[in-house]
């Protein structure tokens, strides 16, 4: 920290709002909450896919169109991409040491994730609503 002896502010006061002190805990906590949700959602998704192994197109579509499946699929997609962004963010922050490359990657994964969530959700809704 600064060695400026004239600064009478507490070091904590200066640290607040900077770096991970701003959102470190929320990142950590959200990663755990999405992880807990994905234990259930991922296992459910695997059983859904296994149940549709040899299904033809109409059967697969009918399965996704069921209200509960549609709701859980959208929940799964939102949670999985959210969790992926949080994890990839930490990997990028750890290994990419050129600042501009780091920022570009951090923004890129968020764009890709948001577009993927929107596209998947629209796909599920189109199937569920028979569009």
């Amino acid at each position: 920290m600064s060695t400026n002896t004239k600064d009478l502010r507490n070091p904590l006061k200066r640290a607040r709002g900077l770096g991970s002190a701003q959102f470190g805990v929320s990142h950590w906590w959200t990663q755990r909450v999405t992880a807990a949700a994905l234990i259930v959602l991922a296992l459910w998704f695997v059983t859904l896919v296994l149940g549709l192994l040899h299904a033809d197109y109409a059967t697969a579509r009918a399965a996704v169109a069921k209200p509960w499946n549609a709701v859980l699929l959208i929940a799964f997609v939102v949670t999985v991409f959210w969790h992926a962004v949080l994890g990839l963010q930490v990997v990028i922050e750890d290994y990419v040491h050129t600042r501009w490359k780091e920022i570009v990657l951090l923004v890129a994964i968020k764009f890709i994730a948001v577009l993927s969530v929107l596209a998947s959700t629209l796909a599920v809704l189109r199937i569920a609503l028979g569009a």
Binding site: R32, A35, G87, S116, S120, A123, I127
Partner: protein
Amino acid sequence: MADTQRPLSPHLQIYKWQVQMVTSILHRATGIALAVGTLMVLWGLVSLAAGEEAFNQFKVCNGSPLGMILLIGWTWALFYHLCNGIRHLIQDTGAGYAIPQFVRSSWMSIIGSFVLTLLVWAYVLTAGGAA
């Protein structure tokens, strides 16, 4: 970098590999692999919404040798990340940090992931090939 000739702290190549090191880095590696794998979920849903032709193309790609290898890889990555993720969630409560427990739970993650992958693919193959 400073010009001082200070000794560097020992890095990975100095240490004998231990199972906890393997489970730690595999959690990251499988996380990255799964983030890529989510795009398959996106492709599946979008092709299902797009029509029978697009969905059949998706099924043919999944059933190809390369598709099967990737799917087996993603299955293992999912189950490994799931088992080890549960292990991390338990450790987040402060439990399981004694060295013998830590080593044992590492092996449980690895063995559990292989058993689950084997079970799923035994089911897939006995049910008559993928997709």
